[in-house]
Assembly symmetry: C2
Homo-oligomer: 298 residues x 2
C-alpha cells in the first residue's frame, strides 16, 4: 500500500476531485482547484506589466514579484528606479533563515550604491481605509479584528487602517533601526509560517507570483539570523527587470482571480470547507494567508 | 547604510535587546528570547528519550522529532516498532512541495515492507478533553474556537475535542483515501504556512525539534504534488533510531519550556507584543503556530 498525501493547496493544477463513490447520493462539491480551473475569463484581471519585477538567478531560475504601488507608492517608486538603473543586477541572496525570510540586496562591501532614489521616506506601513474598497473576508484573523481584500490583495487591520500581511511569499523592505523605514535596496520574502509580528513594522511591497521555490529552497545560512557566513555561499541574482521593460518575446504575463466575483466567494468557501474525496472533516475556517487570491500565467 | 531585518523568531539565541536610547525613561520590556534565556531550571522539562526519533541523512545531517504518544498512541507504537526494526534505514525523501510538506518513506518499488505493525488502526485525529489538562492560549485561533497547550504541546479545537495543529515543523502520517488513516510507514513534516485544513484529516504524531532545515531546504520536486520525478533525486535517510536506543555518547537530549509556568506566560505575552528596539508597533496578538513552546538542547 502506498501511503500518500493529496493536496490542492496553492496548486493551480487541474486535480479533478473525481473520487465520488458509486453509493454516494449527492455529487461532491467542487474542490478549490476545480473552481479556479472553471473560472470565466471575466473572473480574472491581468496584472500590469509595470508592476511585475522579473528576477533571473544563477542557472536561469526566475522569480516574478507582483508589486503593490497602491499600498506603498514611494518605496515602490524607489524599487523601480533601482531596477531600471541595474542596481539589483549581480546582487546577492544574503540571508536565508528557516521558517522566516530569504533576504537579498548588495553586500555591505559592494561599492555600487543606489542612485537617484529618495531617502527619509514617510512610513508606508499601513493605509487609510477612507478611499479603499475592501471586500470582507468571512473568517477570523488570528491577529486583527478585520481581514479582507483590496485591489485583489489580502489586507488585515482595523476600521480605519489596513495593511498587507506578512504571508508566505509576501515581499517587504529590510531596514535599519527605527525611525528608518528602508529605501528598497534590500528586500526579503517570507519563507515560513507568516511572521505577522512584522506587520506594520516593515513595509510590505509585493507578492511572489512565480518561482517561489527559487527563493525558499536555498540552504539556510549558518550565521546569526541566517546570514551566509562565507560570501561564496551567496546565490547571485543575475538580473532584475520590470516586465514592461522586457521585449514581448520574453515578457511574462499573469492574471489574478478577481476578489469581487462570485467565483472568488465560492473559492474562499471551498478553501475553508474541504469535503469529499481525500477529506474526512472540514475545518469551517481558513487563515487569510491560506486564502491568497489565485494567480496564474495568462 | 546596511538595510537589515532583525528577528528573534524561533531563535533561542541570546540576542540581547540592548538598544534602549539614553533619552528613554523606562527600560524596555524583555524580548521573547531574553525570557527564554533567563528561564529557571525548574521552568524546563526534559523530553523522554524514548519519544525522540533521531534521523540521520546523507552527509551526516540530523533531524530530531519529538513524538506525542499521549495523542496518537497506536500509530506511534507502529512508528517505534518500524524504527526499531530498521524499516526507515535507507528510506527516502519522496516529495517536497513548496509551502506545504516534505514527505518520506520507502518508495513503492522498494521490496522491504513493514513487519509486525498493526493495520486498520482506529482514527487518532483528535482526543477527548475529559482527562486532558489544557492551559488556555490567550489569543484567537483562525480556525477553531479554542487554542491552548496540553503536555507542553499546542492544541486547538473545541470544548470536547482538541487536536495537534499542522504548524510549521509538525510531523504527521501520510495515508491513502479514507477510511484508511495510515500505518506510520510514510511521514511528512510541514514546511510552509500551517495547512490547517489537514487538521483532523491526518494523524499528527510529532514535532521537529532540531534540524528542521534538513527537511525544509531540499529542492522542490517537479512532479505532481512535489514528488521527485527521478528516483536519483531522492535524498536518503540513512538511519533512524529512538534516542533511548542510542549509546549515551551520541544520544541527544532536549528540554521544553513548561507551559504551566509564569515564565511561559510572559514568553507568550512577549511574542504577542513585540515592543522596543527594532519594533515600531506591537500586534497585540500571535498565532498558536508562532507560539510553539520553546525547545532547546539540554
Amino acid at each position: 500500500m502506498r501511503a500518500f498525501l493529496f493536496s490542492t493547496a496553492f496548486v493551480l493544477a487541474s486535480f479533478a476531485q473525481s473520487t465520488a463513490l458509486a453509493e454516494d447520493k449527492k455529487p461532491e462539491p467542487p474542490a478549490p482547484s476545480d473552481i479556479v480551473a472553471k473560472a470565466a475569463v471575466s473572473d480574472w484581471q491581468t496584472l500590469a506589466d509595470e508592476d511585475l519585477m522579473v528576477m533571473t538567478l544563477d542557472g536561469g531560475k526566475t522569480v516574478v514579484i507582483w508589486l503593490a504601488p497602491w499600498f506603498a507608492p514611494e518605496h515602490i517608486s524607489n524599487i523601480k528606479i533601482m531596477t531600471r538603473n541595474g542596481f539589483f543586477n549581480n546582487s546577492k541572496i544574503l540571508r536565508v533563515q528557516d521558517n522566516y525570510v530569504t533576504q537579498w540586496g548588495r553586500p555591505d562591501e559592494d561599492p555600487i550604491k543606489p542612485q537617484n532614489i529618495k531617502t527619509g521616506l514617510p512610513d508606508e506601513y499601513d493605509i487609510s481605509t477612507k478611499t479603499l474598497k475592501i471586500k470582507a473576508f468571512p473568517y477570523k484573523d488570528s491577529y486583527t479584528p478585520r481581514a479582507g481584500y483590496a485591489n485583489h490583495w489580502p489586507v488585515v487591520g482595523a476600521q480605519k487602517q489596513v495593511w498587507l500581511p506578512h504571508c508566505y511569499g509576501m515581499v517587504a523592505i529590510g531596514r535599519d533601526m527605527p525611525p528608518d523605514n528602508g529605501t528598497g535596496e534590500s528586500l526579503y520574502a517570507v519563507i515560513g509560517h507568516a511572521p505577522r509580528h512584522l506587520d506594520r513594522n516593515l513595509t510590505v511591497v509585493g507578492r511572489v507570483v512565480a518561482g517561489m521555490e527559487n527563493l525558499s529552497a536555498w540552504p539556510r545560512g549558518t550565521g546569526a539570523l541566517g546570514f551566509y557566513e562565507n560570501p561564496e555561499q551567496r546565490p547571485t541574482i543575475v538580473s532584475v527587470a520590470l516586465a514592461s521593460d522586457l521585449p514581448e518575446s520574453v515578457r511574462p504575463h499573469f492574471k489574478v482571480l478577481r476578489t469581487d466575483t462570485l467565483t472568488f466567494d465560492q473559492w474562499v468557501k471551498a478553501r475553508a470547507n474541504r469535503v469529499g474525496g481525500f477529506f474526512v472533516t472540514p475545518m469551517n475556517g481558513v487563515d487569510i494567508c491560506n486564502a491568497m487570491p489565485p494567480v496564474a500565467p495568462l
